[in-house]
Symmetry: C2
Subunit: 327 residues, 2 copies
Amino acid sequence: MKNVAIGVDIGGTNTAIGVVDTEGHVLVKNNIPTPTDGDINLYIAELTLSIKDLINSVELLNEDTEVLGIGIGAPNGNYYNGTIEYAPNLSFRGVIPFVKLLREKFPELKAITLTNDANAAAIGEMIYGGAKGMTDFVMYTLGTGVGSGIVVDGNMVYGHDGFAGECGHTTLIPGGRLCACGAKGHVETYCSAPGMKRTAFEIMVRDNATTSLLAEKSYKELDSKMIFEAAEKGDKVALEVFETTGKWLGLALANTVHHTSPEAVFLFGGPMAAGEYILKPTRESMEKNLLPIFRNKIKILPSQLKPGDAAIVGASALVYKELQGLS
Amino acid sequence: MKNVAIGVDIGGTNTAIGVVDTEGHVLVKNNIPTPTDGDINLYIAELTLSIKDLINSVELLNEDTEVLGIGIGAPNGNYYNGTIEYAPNLSFRGVIPFVKLLREKFPELKAITLTNDANAAAIGEMIYGGAKGMTDFVMYTLGTGVGSGIVVDGNMVYGHDGFAGECGHTTLIPGGRLCACGAKGHVETYCSAPGMKRTAFEIMVRDNATTSLLAEKSYKELDSKMIFEAAEKGDKVALEVFETTGKWLGLALANTVHHTSPEAVFLFGGPMAAGEYILKPTRESMEKNLLPIFRNKIKILPSQLKPGDAAIVGASALVYKELQGLS
């Protein structure tokens, strides 16, 4: 008997679905568009079809497969209610009872469970990745935004309302950069991939750095990968972007450490491709901003989830975590 | 049979000891000086004597009393190890195995347990106070410093190292006011009682407010009680101190809410005597700084622990919490 779980990652434009084994390997996967017209019933029907197709194809390979459940990572996903609530990047309005709708299609499964994408990534890290065996850690996901998941005593912190772990929307600099959420100075505006771009232009403006490699790109097209490539060529502006981003990220991590005292902080996302360019200044800044009782104890580690599959794998891990809790 | 627990609150100059019943009433209490010469063995001997005296006096009143254990609130108290580690305000050097030393004197007790004072206050609130029945809440203690205790799923968050909940040492304003810990811009430097004093002088300097009631006090003597009294008389500077302190405190609380999504935040300490002067701007600022998914949900409440006895009562609650965990 081979146990598998379905991982579903709901993004603004695309929904990725995969069948994942207990070691975190994606056996088969598929994609469907996330609707832009708000039609949830049609979407649930298409998602159901896609999941059943994938289950069939896995069972063709190995008849003795048991599908334990479906884990879903979604923006503004509420773990307690199984709902997606007022997600600004999705077309569905209000509160969507996502797990309930999917449960009607899969009454036989042991677990159907949903949380936000950063929490799913943290659980993925705990079940399959670098956080195996850790009971207290934090995951920061650096992408278009900054997400986070906090694990205490081996359990995901969902909080009273199921929405805990929004460290990207804590305030780093009061009155600072405008955040997508409408507030100012949030961690996300400095430490996300677009935050790095903003820092790059801030430095170019300050120094009038017309000879920087980054000065050849428009504000719209510059991204964190280009900044990394320029840093590798020794571009001064690009190198300073990593120093500055690390300085801010380290401060944000220190604030989180002072809350829950984790063993390690995992970092996940595009900017992490830059490795030590971002890790070194982040470590230095975090240490500098920690109380002495926390210093030289807390590891900052790159996520060990595979970038391409991480969202699916993380979502599928929700199922195993849920069944651990039930057993 | 009447169950009681001993609460011990270790302060920089004074140690308060009390016998507390299961409803949080202090039956008898005592004080001994906290030594300034670092002699831990003499201190343990004196503390033991004082505890035994108190137990005897309670047993004289009611023969059928069982002492369940001793709970200790101490600066830099480590719950996991039962140690006091490098506490800057105590004369003991290095790591003191406090619980072990006390256990040798009281081998018969069911529980001897220690944590920092803010965590003890949070557990006190949970066992005896306004947080009864809540599983997810946060306690901020506003005094000479700002301490905090975080409860998730009904359990105190101690973290990997036993030192979680140092929200007073998260950074509110990078590069801001110098903190007692040596860092800059910490929450404590704006939201503690001395932080309010600093804000008062900042406002007087800005406005050259020589006619303010607060302008009659020296920098050394002005305290949060005087600011409250001046606010009640309509003093403009004093009123603005509360507005400003609330603005900063609300921002700090929003950052914490974004971490663990509590049901309520409890505020404890001297500045809370000012009631709505501090609560109203704090609530407004917290709401303003929360993501929409958190708005209009999280209560800010004054602690229901009695100011004079709270530290002893909170420390004693550690014993009941510990025994709940064991049962």
